[in-house]
């Protein structure tokens, strides 16, 4: 229970944050950081139990027949993420309070940020697959709001929409995959699904399921070829980039693959698909980072590369690889968030993110520079940082892998490391050292903005020097949750002179070398970038969106041309066509048009109704036609009354009365007589109306002549009094037995009314004030 409250508390805080910010300004925003800090401490207290092997869970049924529950389960993997999300979240809140100081939108920003945090917490702690999906989509939605925060700028809006459509499309695929998993395994709780792994892996549907789940994970984690939304997402304010697009949201795809690894991992398809996508992303991302000059874009591409590395490791799936994955996950979150925050501070104080314009800031921004140096050293994977240990673990995993083509992975990894060293030098050296004019006007960022990156980067150093701090309770438990088997995690700075160390040294040297000839390196990188761009998924996205809009416009102009008669004809004709089609396939059912037992007064009513219909068609005055239609309506009401459905009859009569008023009000604006229709039009109308009538009659006859099952009316009349305490069966059905249908009906009614209101106001309100 506490767990659920903790996870959902973010939403409550989000709801009140605009108020708090309005009352307290920047200090108020800082106070909001207390929530993530509190959550971090709470989650930390779960550590000891999880270390001992417990899984902390809670759950409530929502729709038990289809397995939908709101349930949470926290094990090592979830705990690692929970701590990262809440911890970095707290720091980002503090940072954002200064970054957006004085901005009137600060309250809204905090709302979206805290809502995102809560959604992300929900994703990583969810146990039921539908709970997971709901929170997954919530992160997409909140990310949309956050990326497009500067909504006055078109670039922001475009980037936000791009991210939403790509991750949303992946989300749909993910839902399909999750539903299929539930079908195959019969379970909807991840803990149970992970226990049923063999059933899932052996099933025929395994590959489609894998592809669907991959679509969700790869889009969310910006893997090639779905990576293009991530650099665009840099339009977001920097606190957002630091939080979502480096440490948390983009890791959701990695989390998903890690979480499902016990159930789906280890097959050939998994090894091939996941590892390949990951490895390609890793190399391409790092390569593309080389040609960028915008600090945030450089960091975005390097993030993409690291995400690819993590996915690749999950693809390999061996114990060493998993150990490396969880280690690198934590290390990367620490330094990448720090570097993004540094980039934001530089942007805020020096008003530029372009490394060609920046320089010499170390003199005026010493603390920020310190964070940058620490972060960059982690990015390059230098000892004694935690990131170095992580990198060594990754190299070891790729060296020792039993998979075919492992040497390809090693090569790709070495190249990536070299590129990242280059990137690290760029990110750290360019803005802070050297000599540029911009440095003269800049000054150090406020403590709220240099504090968080310094803290995060220093953590990278501290944990690097004492990895035992996180080895057991965090990394081991996380790794075991992913692996589904016991794991030993022994990290140290010095493992002796071995192959991983040699490869590290070589790649660092290569990276420095690349930097030395940086112009040449950039040329090559630009060439690759152009190639990717031309063939590129981004072009596909833009083209696809354009085609969608064009098609939608054309189809709407064709089918929704504004004439009610046209819509009716389309609906009626399609209906007739489809019924005739199905009758030609399944055969015409028996129809028994027995006229026994009909009384003369029933025939009188029928005659009145028919007369009313004919007169409505023949009259040329609108009001007379409405009156004739009223005759039809009252006739039908009489039929209802004859059959004992008094409620329905009553409603029908009332509707007729109100319809008359409505028609009169509408006709005020129209000509009072109707033009007689042209011959061709008349023929068409007769054919459509006539065939529709015939088809409906046949359907009713067929339905009443063939009893396919016991009519449920018996159940309703039997149960009406004992179960629902009502003697009016119709009403009881409406508000009790089938209340859900009625709820849908009144929603439709509401939408129709609001739609009519909108259309009327648009039409009439042209000359009035709104």
């Amino acid at each position: 229970m506490t767990l659920a409250v903790m996870v959902l508390s973010g939403f409550v805080a989000a709801a009140v944050s605009p108020l708090i910010v309005r009352m307290g300004g920047r200090a108020g925003a800082r106070v909001l950081a207390l929530l993530p800090i509190g959550l971090f401490l709470y989650f930390a207290t779960l550590g000891p139990d999880i270390r001992d092997g417990e899984v902390i869970g809670a759950g409530w049924d929502w729709a038990p027949d289809i397995g939908v529950r709101l349930s949470f389960a926290v094990d090592g993997l979830a705990l690692a993420f929970l701590l990262l999300i809440s911890g970095i979240g707290a720091l980002v809140v503090v940072y954002a309070a200064d970054y957006l100081k004085g901005d009137p939108r600060l309250g809204r920003f905090m709302l979206a940020l805290l809502a995102f945090m809560a959604s992300m917490l929900g994703v990583v702690s969810a146990d039921n697959i539908f709970t997971l999906f709901v929170f997954w989509e919530l992160t997409s939605v909140t990310s949309y709001v956050l990326i497009g925060f500067d909504h006055e700028r078109e670039a922001s809006r475009k980037a936000a929409l791009q991210a939403l459509l790509v991750t949303g499309g992946g989300g749909l695929a993910l839902l399909a995959g999750l539903v299929l998993i539930a079908q195959v395994t019969g379970e909807t709780e991840l803990s149970a699904i992970n226990a049923a792994g063999d059933a899932l892996r052996g099933d025929d549907l395994y590959l489609p399921i894998l592809l669907l789940v991959l679509a969700g994970a790869l889009t969310k984690s910006a893997q090639f070829p779905f990576h293009f939304w991530l650099p665009s997402a840099m339009e977001a304010p920097t606190p957002v980039s630091a939080y979502l697009h480096s440490a948390t949201m983009v890791k959701a795809g990695v989390y998903l693959l890690a979480r499902l690894h016990p159930a789906m991992g280890g097959t050939t398809e998994w090894h091939v698909l996941v590892t390949t996508f990951g490895a390609v992303t890793m190399v391409v991302g790092a390569l593309l980072a080389l040609s960028q000059f915008d600090l945030k874009r450089i960091l975005a591409y390097s993030t993409m590369s690291v995400l690819g590395l993590l996915v690749m490791l999950i693809g390999v799936g061996e114990p060493l690889a998993i150990k490396a994955m969880v280690t690198f996950l934590v290390a990367h979150a620490l330094y990448k968030a720090a570097l993004f925050l540094v980039a934001g501070a530089v942007d805020h104080e020096a008003h530029s993110r372009d490394i060609r314009e920046l320089g010499g800031l170390a003199r005026v921004m010493p603390y920020t520079a310190a964070a940058a140096i620490l972060g960059a050293a982690s990015l390059a994977g230098l000892p004694p940082f935690f990131a170095f240990i992580a990198k060594e673990a990754v190299i070891e995993a790729t060296l020792e892998t039993g998979l075919a083509g492992g040497w390809l992975l090693v090569g790709g990894l070495a190249a990536t490391s070299a590129f990242l060293v280059f990137v690290a030098w760029t990110v750290c050296l360019a803005p802070f050292f050297g000599q540029r004019d911009r440095a003269r006007d800049a000054h150090e960022a406020p403590p709220g903005m240099w504090g968080p990156p310094v803290l995060l980067a220093s953590l990278g150093l501290a944990v690097g020097m004492a990895p035992v701090l996180v080895e057991d309770w965090l990394l081991r438990t996380a790794g075991e949750a992913v692996l589904g088997a016991p794991l030993k995690v022994n990290l140290a700075l010095w493992h002796g002179l071995n192959a991983p160390l040699a490869i590290s040294v070589v790649s660092i040297a290569a990276g420095i070398g690349l930097f030395a000839v940086r112009d040449r390196t950039r040329q090559v990188a630009d060439a690759v970038s152009a190639l990717v761009g031309r063939a590129g998924p981004a072009r596909l996205y833009d083209g696809g969106l354009l085609a969608l809009n064009v098609t939608a416009g054309a189809q709407t102009r064709l089918l929704q041309n504004g004439y009610l008669r046209f819509y009716l004809i389309v609906v009626l004709a399609s209906f007739v066509g489809l019924v005739v089609l199905s009758a030609s396939v399944v055969g015409v059912p028996e129809m028994d048009p027995s006229l026994r037992g009909t009384a003369f007064y029933e025939w009188v009513i029928v005659a009145l109704v028919v007369a009313g219909a004919l007169l409505a068609v023949l009259f040329s005055s609108r009001l007379a036609a409405v009156a004739a239609l009223g005759l039809v309506g009252f006739g039908i009401a009489a039929v209802f009354a004859l059959y004992g459905a008094l409620d329905v009859a009553m409603t029908q009569i009332l509707v007729e009365a109100l319809t008359v008023i409505l028609f009169v009000l509408v006709f005020y604006h129209l000509k009072s007589t109707l033009r007689p229709p042209a011959r061709a039009q008349l023929m068409r109308d007769i054919v459509v109306a006539g065939s529709f009538g015939l088809v409906m009659t046949s359907l009713v006859l067929a339905a009443t002549s063939n009893q396919v099952a016991e009519p449920i009316s018996g159940f309703f009349s039997d149960e009406s009094v004992p179960a629902a305490f009502g003697r009016n069966v119709v009403n009881v059905i409406l508000v009790d037995f089938r209340a859900l249908d009625t709820l849908g009906e009144i929603v439709v009614l509401a939408v129709a009314a609001l739609g009519s209101y909108a259309m009327l106001r648009l039409q009439f309100g042209k000359d009035d004030e709104p």
């Binding site: 008094l646 409620d647 009553m650 409603t651 009332l654 509707v655 009365a657 109100l658 008023i661 409505l662 009000l665 509408v666 005020y668 604006h669 629902a724 305490f725 009502g726 003697r727 009016n728 119709v730 009403n731 009881v732 409406l734 508000v735 009790d736 209340a739 859900l740 009625t742 709820l743 009144i746 929603v747 009614l749 509401a750 129709a752 009314a753 609001l754 009519s756 209101y757 009327l760 106001r761 009439f764």
Partner: protein
């Protein structure tokens, strides 16, 4: 419309209609009636008032703006459904309790609240359309 007969009689009739509508709503569970019919009668009452006195006067007579009644009615219906969730029977499961008034007992339940939601939505929907149409004369 300036007919004085219409104006005088409609003032009386509107009150009668509204009383009848409440009556229909209350008795719906055991006798013919119910939320839809009651809502339509009430809407008929206000429409009559609009025909006699004009749309603006009709809107002012309504204590709540009709466009606001629509979401309000939906909300009431939803809350009635949530009662079932609270007790664990499931969404929209009917929850009943008995109220004793002296010698008689009255059974009240969430279906009645749901019917009230339907009632409000119907009034809101119909009156929104009618008042908007009538106001443009």
């Amino acid at each position: 419309m300036t007919s004085s007969i219409l104006r005088t009689t409609s003032q009386l009739l509107v009150i009668l209609f509204l009383l009848f509508s409440a009556f229909l709503l209350w008795r719906g569970h055991n006798e013919p009636g119910g939320g839809f019919a009651a809502g339509l009668v009430a809407a008929g009452a206000f429409s009559l008032y609009a025909v006699a006195f004009g749309a603006d006067a009709a809107r002012k007579t309504m204590p709540v703006d009709p466009a606001l009644l629509i979401p309000l009615g939906l909300l009431v219906a939803l809350v009635a459904g949530l009662a079932g969730l609270v007790t664990g029977d499931g969404f929209l499961a009917g929850q009943w309790f008995t109220l004793s008034l002296g010698r008689d007992e009255v059974k009240l339940g969430s279906p009645l609240l749901f019917d009230v939601g339907v009632f409000l939505t119907v009034i809101g929907a119909v009156m929104t359309i009618i008042i908007t149409l009538a106001a443009e004369e």
